[in-house]
């Protein structure tokens, strides 16, 4: 089945003329039609547009043009938070109405230049705010391993689509774990690049000091390939680092002998599911067996990360979401004056979680509270960042569980926002510190069988090191080859 291929293998076959880009795409579309009525990863997809792109690639291959492109003929699914010219962009919200993006995000342009087929709009929590896709204004995506459970979030559609082989790979965005957490819960690879590594031009902003775009893939080699394609400096994003991206696949040599990996003692405590703990401990042993040196480290301010995050992220979101006012695009609810128009439009257009965060963010920035909340949170953020920089003087990478538990059931946490926030406890610090992180499969719970994720955190611009370690682990264990039952219907 062509939809089950990796990026590396699909592009190789298209390049060699063993299969066509159109055949790969058709296999994905056929599989979407078969399984997506249950998984519900896609908000929409434009079959005709994707087939036109695939046909263009096939003509280029026939003419032997630009065959070395790394994503040649590979369909890549897109989270509904990235601008694709001529396609709907909703951020899984009602407030954008029938908005059609007038331009391509930089990462989309880079996918096209690399020979990819840009395919579909993937479900998410509204404006990337959530950990389960239950905050989507349209529907909840289901976990391909157990349809009663959530796929994680906010990039739940991106993770589920890869896990269910509906796509070869996808893009998502990560503000506090929105790539790594769903990757862990769905059993695929998800990588959040270092802040500044990937251009955000064309990404709808949630929290501008935290957001990064990153890949979801079926294995580590594909993550290295896709990260290489989307990385690099972009004059259109002033937070983009003027530094050339390396060829990440060169780091995948399987040799982790002598690398020092830190195990933070603050991550192996309270609320951690015993099966998750056992899987992560086994992974650590495997890394040691392969010659890595594992040392216990301390990240003393870990316990404050969730509180800091929910001040900084909501404050930034309250400012960023001010643009959704019913004037230039999207939904409009008329009012007698502009203020009434804004209030009515935003009241009708935003869902409960977005409203909650706008109110919280506005409150912490409001007159008289700024120093007590926002400024204090920014200072504790400094302490969290220093924890990591200090640890990285001692170790090359840090290993932790990605999430405290495997996927939870739909509805289980949706009425308790604080419990939902606390489920992001292991992923949030990475964004606050601006470092890179990835999640890859490291085992399963017994009954029901659900994926468990291993998180590797790296130095700023240390993606090569965490990819190298993850690759060595993946090749030694083979967890990534396990497929969910949904694919075999």
């Amino acid at each position: 089945m062509l939809n089950e291929l990796t990026i590396a293998e699909a592009a190789r076959r298209v390049r060699a003329g063993e299969t066509s880009a159109t055949d790969v795409l058709r296999a994905c579309i056929d599989h979407v039609k078969k399984v997506d009525p249950q998984v519900k990863a896609f908000l929409s997809y434009d079959e005709a547009d994707a087939l036109v792109q695939a046909n263009a690639i096939d003509h280029q291959v026939a003419a032997r043009e630009n065959l070395e492109r790394p994503l040649l003929g590979v369909p890549i699914g897109i989270k509904d938070v990235l601008s694709v010219k001529g396609h709907h962009l909703n951020c899984a919200s009602k407030i954008l109405g029938n908005y059609v993006a007038p331009f391509d995000a930089t990462v989309i342009q880079k996918l096209r230049d690399a020979g990819a087929i840009v395919f579909g709009r993937l479900n998410m929590d509204e404006f990337a705010m959530g950990s389960s896709t239950e905050n989507s204004a349209f529907f909840t995506t289901r976990n391909p391993w157990d349809l009663e459970r959530i796929p994680g979030g906010s990039s739940g559609g991106s993770a589920a689509a890869v896990a269910a082989d509906e796509c070869i790979a996808t893009l998502g965005s990560d503000t506090g774990g929105s790539i790594r957490q769903p990757a862990a819960l769905c059993g695929c690879v998800g990588l959040k690049p270092t802040y500044g590594r990937v251009s955000r031009y064309g990404l709808v902003a949630f929290a501008s000091s935290l957001d990064q775009i990153g890949p979801f893939t079926k294995d580590i080699r594909d993550a290295a390939i896709l990260l290489g394609v989307i990385s690099g400096h972009d004059a259109l994003d002033s937070t983009s680092i003027p530094q050339v991206a390396p060829d990440y696949t060169k780091a995948l040599d399987g040799n982790i002998k002598g690398l020092k990996i830190g195990l933070p003692r603050e991550y192996m405590v309270g609320g951690l599911d015993p099966e998750v703990k056992a899987a992560v401990s086994a992974a650590v042993e495997n890394l040691q067996k392969q010659g890595a040196e594992v040392v216990e480290i301390s990240l003393p301010h870990t316990d404050y990360a969730v509180a800091v995050y929910y001040i900084i992220a909501t404050a930034e979101a309250s400012a960023n979401l001010a643009r959704f006012d019913g004037i230039r695009y999207g939904l409009r609810e008329d009012g007698a004056d502009p203020i009434e128009l804004y209030s009515k439009t935003r009241g009708a257009g935003f869902g409960a979680e977005v409203k909650r965060r706008i109110i919280l963010g506005t409150y912490v920035l409001s007159s008289g509270y700024y120093d007590a909340f926002y400024l204090r949170a920014q200072k504790v953020r400094t302490l969290i960042r220093q924890d990591f920089l200090k640890a990285f003087e001692q170790v090359d990478a840090i290993v932790t569980p990605t999430t405290p538990t495997a996927a939870f059931k739909a509805g289980e946490k949706s009425d308790d926002p604080l419990q939902m926030y606390l489920s992001d406890i292991f992923t949030i610090s990475c964004n606050l510190a601006g470092i890179c992180g990835l999640s890859l499969p490291c085992g399963f719970t017994k009954a029901p069988k659900l994926p468990i994720g291993l998180q590797l955190l790296g130095k700023p611009f240390g993606e090569e090191t965490i990819l190298k370690i993850a690759h060595a682990y993946e090749q030694a264990t083979g967890w990534h080859k396990e497929k969910p039952p949904i694919g075999r219907i």
Binding site: L341, F350, K379
Partner: protein, 95 residues
């Protein structure tokens, strides 16, 4: 952790966010609980700590001051909920 009182109606006005009375009540209770949790940050002495606004700070990012291609008037207005004569239509602002 103590619940914190928050004037949701006032904050919603600042945010230009219309809420129903039921939403105001529910949000007030939930946000009080979240703010109670956030109070744990007061345990730390941050008097000698500098704030972090961006993890990877870049300053004075500029580009040459030259005209570049941009959206046409038609493209810029394509998603407008209400438009006329190449302009966005809004309710009357000045009496």
């Amino acid at each position: 952790m103590a619940a914190v009182e928050i004037d949701v109606k006032y904050v919603a006005h600042l945010a230009r966010l219309g809420l129903t009375p039921a939403e105001e009540q529910k949000l007030g209770a939930q946000l009080g609980q979240i703010l109670g949790y956030i109070e744990k940050l007061n345990e730390l002495d941050v008097s000698k700590v500098e704030p972090t606004a961006h993890a990877v700070p870049l300053v004075n990012v500029t580009r040459p001051d030259v005209a570049r291609p941009s959206l046409s008037n038609e493209d810029a207005l394509r998603n407008a909920p209400s438009k006329a004569n190449g302009l966005f239509l809004v309710p009357k602002i000045v009496e």
